[in-house]
Every structure is written in C-alpha cells, then in structure tokens.
C-alpha cells in the first residue's frame, strides 16, 4: 500500500492503495466515482477515458501512482450542471442509447475540442476511432461534436469560459 495524492475534479484526493492499482478501479471501487466505466481493461475500448492534466488517458491501464500530484478529471467533474459544450451538444442530439460508452466518448470529444476547436470529420475519426460504442451512436456523436464546436465558439466569443 502506498499513500498517493492527486487532484480529482478540482479537489485534493488522498488514497491508500497499491501503487500499481489502475486508476479506473481506484476511482470506481476505492473512491466511489462510478461514472468512469470498465469495458475491456486492456486499453482497447476507451470506456474508461479520463483527463490527466487535460490529456485523455485510459484509466484501466494507468497505474494510480503515475497520477500522483496531477490533475484528474472524470465525467463527474466535466461540469456541475451539464454546461460543458460537449454535454450540451450530447443532450441536444440525444446521443446516448444504453449510455455505457458515453463517459469515454464525451471525455475524448472534450479533449479533442480543447486541441482542435473546429475539428474536421477526419479529426473526429482519428480522435474517436478508439472509443467503441456497441449501440452504434457514431452518427449522432459526429453531429454532436460539430455542434459542440459551435457552442464552444459561441461561448468563447461571448466571453464566457
């Protein structure tokens, strides 16, 4: 066991767990934040995607010790009120079906928009290729990412966020 400290959704988080325990299970089982999902455990599906210092990371293969002193954001921390442009667009397009993959889709899309504010379809393919949706929401995801880019541009212009 090792005491590890990191910032989780803006707050200091201390855990006492084996240092190679994957962040996914620390979030889900130790801390109780279950919005981040388990899908494969092998970095193959993207369901477990979180942000570490703003970068999308697969928490199922991220040892918790490697995020010590870093900033981790999960789906629960993206916004407190669905106000993140990606969440707004996801709601407008009613993207989720079963919803299980959607935390990973949303976190990946949010990271994409932070990097490429006006992504092309090719940018979307490249960023989102690794995030599996068995329900087949891909067409809605593509539309929603374009819409989120518009929301984001509007709010940047308007001075907010």
């Amino acid at each position: 066991m090792a005491a590890i400290e990191f910032t989780l959704n803006g707050k200091i988080q201390k855990v006492d767990v084996p240092s190679h325990m994957p962040l996914l299970w620390v979030l889900r089982d130790t801390i109780g934040l279950t919005g981040t999902k388990f899908g494969c455990g092998m970095a193959l599906c993207g369901a477990c995607t979180v942000h570490v210092d703003g970068q999308p990371m697969r928490s199922c293969v991220t040892p918790v010790a490697s995020v010590a002193a870093k900033h981790v954001t999960t789906i629960e921390g993206l916004s407190s009120d669905h106000s993140h442009p990606v969440q707004r667009a996801w709601m407008e397009e009613d993207v989720p079906q079963c919803g299980y993959c959607q935390s990973g889709q949303i976190m990946t899309a949010a990271a994409l928009l932070a990097k490429a504010p006006n992504p092309t379809d090719a940018d979307i393919d490249e960023a989102m290729h690794g995030i599996i949706c068995r329900c087949g929401t891909y067409q809605s995801i593509r539309r929603a990412i374009h819409l989120a880019a518009e929301y984001r541009a509007a709010s940047v212009k308007g001075g907010a966020v």
Binding site: Q102, I106, R134
Partner: protein, 698 residues
Amino acid sequence: MITQKIDRRSFLKAGAGGLLLGFYLPESGRLKAQTNAASKLNAFVHVGSDDTVTLFIHMAEMGQGTVTSLSMLLAEELECDWNKIRTEFPGVDRAYGPLQGVFGSRSIRTSWEPLRKAGASAREMLIEAAAENWGVGRDQCRAENGVVINTATNARLSYGRLAEAAAKLPVPSNITLKDPKQFRLIGTSPKRLDTPGKVDGRTLFGIDVRLPGMQYAVIARCPVFGGKVASFDAAKAKAVEGVKQVVEISNGIAVLADNTWSAMEGRRALQIKWDEGANANASSASIRKLFVDLAEKPGATARKEGDVEPALAGAAKRIEAVYEAPYLAHAPMEPLNCVAHVRPDGCEVWASTQIQTAARGVAAKVTGLAPEKVQVHTMYLGGGFGRRGGSDYIGEAVEVAKAVGGPVKLTWSREDDLQHDMYRPASYSRFAAGLDSDGWPVAWFTRIACPSFGGLQNGVDRTGVEGVADILYGITNILVEYHAADAGIPVSYWRSVGYSQNTFFTESFVDELAVAGGKDPLELRRRLLAKSPRMLGALELAAAKAGWGQPLPHGRFRGIAVTNNIGSFNAQVAEISVSQGKLRVHRVVCAVDCGQVVNPRGVEQQIQSGIVFGLTAALKGAITIDRGRVQQQNFHQYDVLRIDEMPHVEVHLVPSQNAPGGIGESSTPGIAPAVANALFAATGKRVRRLPIRPEDLV
C-alpha cells in the same frame, strides 16, 4: 412465444412492491426514496403531493429507449406535465405480466394498449376525484397538463392535490382510448428522458451498484465448455493484496477482494486443474464437419409448398449454393455483473437484466427461497442484445453471496464475456433453386444445420429457420428443412436471432437468382413480393430514396436486401466501394414499415444501432473454437465497428396506420446481404460465408 394474459383489474391495481420507498443506494444519494407522499393510482402511475408523476417502467432500458417511449404511452392518456415526470424501474410483480422482460423487440407492441389504458384509467380517477371535490358531474371536468379543470368555473386542481383521493376510488371499468388523430405525444420525438444522467456519469448501471460492506468477486471458470474444477490451490491468490477469500462454487472458483482489481489479480494467481470433459477436442473444423454431414441428409420440414423435387428437376436452370455463418458473441459494452445479498429470510439482487422474472427465478432456485422472498432491483443496462436475457451471471452472484454472507458484486471481465457467452449459433445451409425459361424462380430449397436453443416442434427450432422458412417471396414450390446440430457450445438469442444469419443467406441467394435469370435484383424482388404490400412498400421506398438504377459516382456500387421480422418490414440499400483491399460502406438507405410510430427519433436511433450491429457481424465478427475453448479474448481479437467505418445511415418511415411493430431488431439482418450484394456488383464475386474477408475483396 409467450402470450401475456393479464387480468385487467389486478393489472391496474396491483402494487409495485415497496420499491418506491425502499430503494436505497448509499453512495448514489440521488436515487434516494421519494420523500413526499406518493399515491399509487395503479401499477404504472404514482402521483406525489408535489405534483411529481412517477411512471413505473416495467421493461428494462438497454438503450432502445423504453424509458422514454413507454412514458410517452402512459403520458399520452394521463395528460400529465411531461416536464414533471420521473421514472423508476419497479420490482417483479404479477401486475407487469407473467414474464417481465424485454426480448423480441416487443416492448412497444405489448405495451401499446395496456399502458395507454393505465394512463387513461389514472386520469379518469383524478378527474373523478376533482368532480367529487367540486360536487359537479364528471363531464364538467377536463384534464390537461397535470391539472383538472372545471370547464364551467375555470377552477383548477393539480394532480398532486387530487392524488390521495383519486387513489381511493375504484378503477374505472370502461376506458375509451384516444383516436390516433388526437395524439399529442405519440408520433413526436421528445428528448429522451434518460439522456441527462448518461452525459454526467450519474446513471447507475448494474456494475455501478455499491453497498456497505460489499465484497468484489470474480470467478475462474473452466475455459472448455462443460468442464469442471478437478482441484485447486488458493494459497497464492490469498496472498494477493486486497484478496479476502476464495470459495468454490458450482461453476468454478470465486475470488473475493476489497476491490475488483485485487479480485482479478487474485484470480490470476489461482492454480486450478480442470477436468475438461467431453468437449476438450472440439474445434471450429470439427463443428463444421458435424454441420456438413447433417446437411447431407434430409431434415425436419420447416415449410413445404408445392413439390420442390420435380420442380427443380424440370427447371430450365438450376442454381445451388452453400452459405455459412460463424458463432458470434454479444459483447455489450457493460460487462456482465450482478450484486447480490442473501440473508436467511430473503435475497436481493441488483442487476442489469433483460428479464426480471427469470432473474428472480434463478435467485430463488439458488437460495431455495420462495420467489416472493427475492427482490430484484433493475438497473440500467449497458447493452443487452439478447445476452442479458440469460440469468447465468445472476445465479453465479447469488451462489457466491450465499456462500460468503454479506453483499457481493460479481464482475465479469471482457475475457469472461467473450469466452463464456451464450453465442449466436453458427449455421451451415444448402440452397438450391430452379428458374423457368424466362428466368423467374419456380422452386426454392433450403436445408439448414444449426444448433437449437428455442425448443423443437416437429423437429424444427423456429430460431434456426426464421428468415428462410417465412420468406414472403411468391415462389410456387418451397421446401425448407432443418437439422438441430448439437455442437456443445452454449447458444442463445442474439439481436434479431435466426434472421441474423438466415436473412444474409436468403437475400444473397435471391441476388444470385436475379443474376442467373438476367434480372435486376430490385425487379426480381418486386415481382416476387407482389402479394406482400407492406414488404413491397418498404422496398419501393428504399429503392426510390437510394436512387436505385441511377448512375453512381465512379467506384461506388449498390446492393439491396429486405427483411420481414418482429412485425415490421425493412428494406435497405447499401452503397460501397472497394479500394486497396478495403471495403467501405458509404451510405445505407433504410426504409421501414413498423406500423404506427411512437417516437420517430427513437426509431431512427434503433435503425442506426441495428445496422452498426449487423455491419460488425458482416465485416468482423467471428468466434472460433480450438481445443474446446473460444479463441477470442478481448476486443483486439473480436473487433467491432468504429466511428471511422460508420456509413451515413438514412432512415425513411413508411406511413402506416397498422398496430406498432418491433424496431430494435429490424435493421440488423438486412445490412450484411445488402453489403455482400453490393460487393458482388463491384467484384463479381459472391460472398457465401461471413464475415467478409480480405480475400473476398479481390
């Protein structure tokens, strides 16, 4: 098929169990019991004193939109305020039918009348309560948007204020439902009720349930189907940090820990000797040989019209082909899991399950308790596709919980999921047809060898022959035969069931007949479907919207296919290209006649979803067997469709006044043959075996 017979009175009055006040998940907080006094108007509708309307959704939500569409059916007649609705999944109750569950794309079809009646009956009770309150006649009152209005005085009473009195009134006996022309909600596309919780991580799936003192379990199962534990040594597993105990259950060895990961690490450290049993030498090749041998011999008759043999013998042209499809896994994104807590006098399970009644049944069986002592908490499903119609994982969790006392969460890894599924069966089918001298089909013969799971009637399992035996094509002589092939691999329902492979066979073979007879594939289908107006209607709409027959950009090719399943009629045109050894599906135009549409956007989503599912099977899916075990372990060996492979799917609805058909499985079967037929147009090569492989593209 199970027919639901519900006595109307018990159906409307029976309780939904103590769930409304009893459901408690410590760390969710937000799913806390409703605190204001809620009055139960019937098993589907509770109204709170704060005007909140709680609708009980008795069928599980696995993405297909039941929470929204069933709420629409209730609210259409209830005349409540759509924005004040909350929904809840009730426990198992007779009021929800003898087999409470989602399967066969039946949610809307079986709820269409009963739920509108439940909504209407609750509304009538609220109106009656208002009329009594005002001391006026019922016909002086009208319900609208959550209030009852006195049409003479304009006085208003909200549902919340009327609920308590209304709940004491008798259930009205004759209910007249709205004429479809008066629908306000049905036929519109309100936002899905379940979206907000699915974009902020709040929605609780089975795998998210946490109870105080809960232990986390995984199970080591014999990799060979039917094998057992011979002996095991748990010493190393117990030494893993976080592991608490190791127990043997009927299906393997369970490792329990204080988190899922430790349990998985502990499982890796287990030393187990397996008794691999009778299937230890099974392989895909040995299973195929079994099918091939069976298909040599006459099988049980699934459909017979006219006299095929002389018709084939006398035909101007005879065409023969063999079609094959592999085993497939369901691979829902949420791995299987279940939380169970067994006490001497009762048992609770929290599960994402498609069939609550079966979940309760298996828990009762494992614990030896009466079914009434088992409480099933239905959680959101991270995909089902038929897999969660099984209750194997629920039985396992209950068995572990019973062995250790205290609450247990069992989680399957993805490897467990792919290796211990109940698979879509593989199938091997021989086809023969005869054409007359004008090139029109006069005889059709199919002999199918396919594992059975749906029960045999006169030697035929409907799940093995649907998609062939029920083709609507007007051909004078038809013979379809079936062999139940027992290959020792567990098989079960997989989205669209027998149609998932048989429609590929049939619709590809029809294309072969068109080519052999010198006909356009659309023209041939048109002629053979002349007596099936709804199927023909969908075909014509898809063809028109796809621009069938009109020139395509260079390098693009089209294929067409039709499906009649689950009470709906589906036609698809796929547009593809092949370049540098890669097949790309660019566009799919899908027309569907699914009767009256409750929620058009929901239908569109399900059509897209079904196409992605079917396209994965067409292009990628295969479970193969070696030494009695499944060779695929995780998504690197069982790949699924990704966003960059997603075609643009257009959905067109055939306007219809027919009763609603199913939709969740409507579009899955047709995509593989539409793509394979387009591939033939591109390459002149006929694909007769799924999935489509690189060698099929040159």
